[in-house]
């Protein structure tokens, strides 16, 4: 009985298997290469880099570029390092992710469980927001922020990202809640739960996977955004991405590549962390939202 079963399985001999692993390792190395270059050069003295050893491991290990990038590098006119901008980004990202996810969940809840006239058109318009190029809204948005008195502030940036994010978060939650049994909502109504009680007590506790998707998506997009940050931020509300650009593009003095590499890793760190922590749930949540819906 065992023999025919092996016939049907994919047969891989030792040679084939070794070959497969070799190719896989090669690709993995290829993709890891930039990170390797960034990391090794961020812990070398500058002289070693300019001496032509880009790919080699550091002969003198130093953390000084990291310290400098964080706390004393020249960003624009201030020798402040990236740290104040890092906190600017955090202050912008956290409320923007939180608010856009909550609003997306509420939208999804209403669009699936409290259907109203023309709700599909409403949803279509919200989806349309996902496809509007950033550049188109720059000038109207600048005007709006001015009118609201949020121009040049971190709150203003958060607002822009919330508005842009709602389309995506609504899409995620709507698709997730579309397969949520409406009998549960009916049962809760008979039990006497109100609109927000049903949302908070019945739907939200079951929304873990899709919330993770929404949070990861929003976090990486907002954290990595450069255009809105460069356009709408004031001197003291610039996010990390803009500050990194200012650090790297500085036109005076010596180009301190090791500091640049350290700064770039610092700027990428939070999104990397979010992926490592939430990656498993991300795939699971995407499946739950798309396949079932």
């Amino acid at each position: 009985m065992a023999a025919p079963m092996q016939e049907t399985a994919i047969r891989t001999g030792k040679v084939a298997r070794t070959f497969i692993y070799l190719v896989l390792l090669l690709f993995a190395a290829f993709y890891m290469l930039p990170l390797y270059v960034m990391f090794v050069n961020s812990v070398k003295p500058l002289a070693e880099i300019t001496g032509g050893g880009m790919m080699s491991l550091p002969s003198v290990f130093t953390l000084e570029p990291w310290v400098k990038a964080w706390s004393s590098a020249q960003i624009g006119v201030e020798p402040s390092g990236l740290s104040p901008y890092f906190w600017n980004s955090i202050k912008m990202v956290v409320p923007a992710v939180f608010v856009s996810t909550i609003l997306g969940a509420l939208n999804g809840y209403v669009l699936t469980q409290w259907r109203f006239r023309y709700d599909t058109i409403f949803f279509g318009l919200l989806l349309f927001a996902c496809f509007i190029p950033f550049q188109i809204v720059l000038i109207p948005m600048a005007k709006m922020l001015g009118v609201m008195g949020l121009a040049g502030t971190t709150w203003g940036l958060s607002f822009v990202h919330i508005v842009y994010g709602i389309g995506f978060t609504t899409l995620y939650f709507r698709n997730f809640y579309a397969v949520f049994p409406s009998e549960l909502v009916s049962a809760a109504q008979i039990d006497g739960a109100g609109f927000f009680q049903i949302f908070r007590r019945i739907l939200l506790p079951s929304s873990g996977p899709i919330a993770v998707v929404s949070i990861i998506w929003q976090f990486t997009n907002i954290w990595n955004d450069f255009l809105f940050g460069a356009s709408f931020a004031g001197a003291d509300s610039q996010p990390m991405t803009v500050a990194l650009n200012n650090l790297v593009q500085a036109s005076h003095g010596v180009k301190e590549y090791n500091v640049h590499f350290a700064g770039a890793i610092l700027a990428a760190m939070p999104t990397l962390l979010v992926y490592i922590v939430g990656g498993r749930y991300f795939v699971r949540g995407l499946m739950a939202g798309s396949v079932k819906g």
């Binding site: 049994p181 549960l184 008979i190 039990d191």
Partner: protein, 370 residues
């Protein structure tokens, strides 16, 4: 006193009418079953009683109070859903007490009510589990517990047994009936299963195409169906409806039926009124259990007629044997005792209990009442 009153109720979605002038009144403690094929509007009517769907026209009253526009939670009703609709993120205990919590009942009182219900339904050991860890029958019990704990005026059941396997369905059916006998609450129960309807109800409302076809006690529905739809929908196998002609034989009404070979048979009809319909066509309705082998005929009947016809198919079902034959150009089923000696293709002398026969008008399909 009328306890639940559905008075000239209609429902429409835009130009589409799904319920037409429904009138149902039941008294306290009754078990009303709404039965009909899918799409007949029975679930819509239940949702309107629950308050989950708006009432387009007419009134629904509970205890004499008009319920139109009253929020579901203020109608003092409880509902058991087809999918049970247990909150997946809460334990069984929390599921049961959620409604009480929403109504602001004290925690100690909630716990007491929960324990009472858990004892009644024997789910005490499940209180800390999540619904996902329960079997179908256990979920069913919890769903009933959640309804019971509120001590409602009216229980609403929306096809509660249709997700269970055949054996469990019969067990739960008996349990629901026991529960009704014990608590004596008023129940409205939706099902498409006519056996559930017959076994559980004290009153049945048969619906079709948004119209109420007949409202009555189970026996009335079974023995005196209003029309051909009710006659064929209720009962399994369904009632035989045979085209026939009324004849006058020496002053006694008879029905003439065509047999498999186009020869005719005359069966005596008890009701003298049918003499008025001499030579007119009717549809004769006879339940399968009223066509039997001669020894199995009902001894209490005052009108047993005999009819020779060819046996086409024999279906032994264990307790009974069903026989198919041709009468009036239709397939007709007879119900024989299981040990009757019969042969496929042979002629057999059937006993027909004409006391149980009913007649329908072939045009309107309505029963010709005597």
């Amino acid at each position: 006193m009328v306890f639940l009153d559905v008075d000239k109720v209609t429902k429409s979605y835009g130009p589409l009418d799904v319920l037409h002038d429904i009138n149902i009144a039941i008294e306290e403690g009754e078990f009303l079953v709404l039965v009909g094929p899918s799409g007949c509007g029975k679930s819509t009517l239940l949702n309107m009683i629950a308050g989950l769907e708006e009432i387009s026209g007419g009134e629904i009253k509970i205890k004499g109070k008009v319920m139109n526009g009253v929020h579901p939670s203020n109608r003092n009703i409880a509902m058991v859903f087809q999918s049970y609709a247990l909150y997946p993120n809460m334990t069984v205990g929390e599921n049961i007490t959620f409604g009480l919590e929403m109504h602001g009942v004290e925690k100690s009182e909630r716990k007491k009510a929960m324990l009472d219900v858990a004892t009644l339904l024997q789910i005490g050991k499940l209180l800390d589990r999540k619904p996902g860890q329960l079997s179908g029958g256990q979920r069913q019990r919890v769903a009933m517990g959640r309804a019971l704990v509120r001590n409602p005026d009216v229980f609403l059941f929306d096809e509660p047994l249709s997700n269970l396997d055949a054996k469990l369905r019969v067990d739960m059916r008996i349990e629901i009936k026991k529960l009704h006998q014990k608590l004596g609450t008023t129940i409205v129960y939706v099902t498409h299963d006519q056996i559930e309807a017959m076994t559980l109800s004290t009153r049945i409302a048969v619906m079709n195409g948004g119209h109420l076809q007949q409202l009555g006690k189970p026996k009335e529905i079974y023995d005196k169906p209003n029309n051909v739809f009710v006659a064929t929908f209720m009962g399994s196998p369904s009632m035989n409806v045979i085209p026939a002609v009324v004849r006058n034989l020496a002053g006694v009404p008879h029905v003439e039926i065509r047999r498999h070979d186009d020869s005719t048979s005359l069966l005596k009809f008890n009701d003298m009124k049918f003499l008025e319909r001499e030579n007119q066509k009717i549809l004769l309705g006879i339940r399968p259990e009223a066509i039997t082998d001669p020894d199995g005929a009902d001894r209490k009947s005052d009108n047993i007629c005999y009819l020779e016809n060819r046996i086409e198919v024999i279906e032994p079902a264990g307790a009974d044997t069903f026989v198919s034959m041709q009468l009036g150009g239709k397939d007709v089923t007879a119900r024989m005792r299981s040990d009757t000696e019969i042969i496929t293709g042979a002629d057999f002398n059937f006993a027909v209990n004409m006391q149980k026969a009913v007649a329908f008008d072939p045009e309107s399909q309505v029963r010709i009442s005597s």
